[in-house]
């Protein structure tokens, strides 16, 4: 979102699972991301995104009618709540976070459950995208970046079957070619090599 709005940002690594007192002062919820903006620390990705949209309205990532904004928010929560709980934590947390946090090996029941759930979610996205150019309607919104944030993490560990749906793959190809995705596609997780298809625009 910052890149789409051309807001420059300097990234800092935060070991939020070993929170320092200073980090908890910035965000008592103990979660990432936090953002320093105009000298003030902000927390919670959804609250931050709504604030940035109000403060830096151009280019818009929210549509212009109340009904369309409702649909964006519904989908943002869908991905950050339902998809996150059923898929992202079951796969990314098990395979990557646990290793980095020194919490041992993936729990195979969780991995199995996440691998099953992502299929239904890709089908749901396909249903949406069969009638819309973007996830929440005919313009690109925060809902697309929220979904893509989850999917790019899963794609890094090769947990997305792009052959399941042509429309979902086409949608992700559009997102992948956005300027905002450049740094995301350059990400490297220590100890987990980037698979060749991850940054490839013709995946």
């Amino acid at each position: 979102m910052l890149a789409e709005k051309k807001i420059e940002v300097e990234l800092h690594e935060e070991r939020y699972w070993e929170p320092t007192a200073e980090f908890l002062r910035r965000n008592p919820a103990g979660k990432v991301p936090t953002l320093k903006f105009d000298g003030k620390f902000l927390a919670d990705s959804q609250a931050i995104c709504e604030y940035l949209e109000e403060r830096v309205p151009s280019p818009p990532l929210m549509p212009s009618t109340a009904a369309a904004r409702y649909e964006v928010r519904r989908l943002v929560f869908w991905f950050d709540d339902k998809f996150h709980g059923e898929v992202t934590t079951k796969l990314v947390h098990e395979r990557v976070n646990k290793r980095i946090m020194g919490q041992g090996y993936p729990d195979s029941r969780n991995v199995k459950s996440g691998a099953q759930a992502i299929k239904q979610h890709l089908d749901y996205m396909e249903n949406l995208l069969e009638n819309r150019r973007w996830l929440a309607g005919d313009v690109m919104t925060l809902a697309d970046f929220t979904a893509a944030a989850h999917l790019s993490c899963l794609d890094y560990i090769s947990d997305v079957d792009w052959n399941r749906s042509v429309v979902v793959k086409d949608w992700y190809a559009k997102i992948k070619s956005r300027p905002a995705f450049r740094t995301i596609l350059a990400d490297v997780i220590p100890g987990v090599p980037q698979p060749p298809h991850y940054a490839d625009l013709d995946f």
Copy 2:
């Protein structure tokens, strides 16, 4: 929120843990609440509240500046995400939902952990309320109703120690006397008698 905005509503019980096909059509996320408004089904409490605020702006439950709205959203997510996960599910789900859903007895480790966590949350609310009239600032907002929604459920099962903080108790007394709370204080859960202090304005 509906009562504050004088939107009349007819309530329907939904056994979301045994979802019907019709319910999943209304909300594919399979969660409550859903709201039929202007003939359209809406889902996700936060997306619904933002939509109602835009469609029925009076009386306002969001403040007028972007910075103040950020703080409301941060706290709404605090209660619906962090507080919900650390406290509400650990106590209300264990003691009430499981019984109604026929899922057996409370897990005492969860109950213990929720009873511990609520203390820290009440202290955090006290910190906020020592410098503000309401949770997110000097006007009553959606953040207050979100927090009160969780606390009223916990208060029904006598899991809130109102003696822990005078300012939090005073804040809840103000909320409790709102017209919006009249039906909430009349709620009765089948099989769980309402404790005498629950609906008492001088608790």
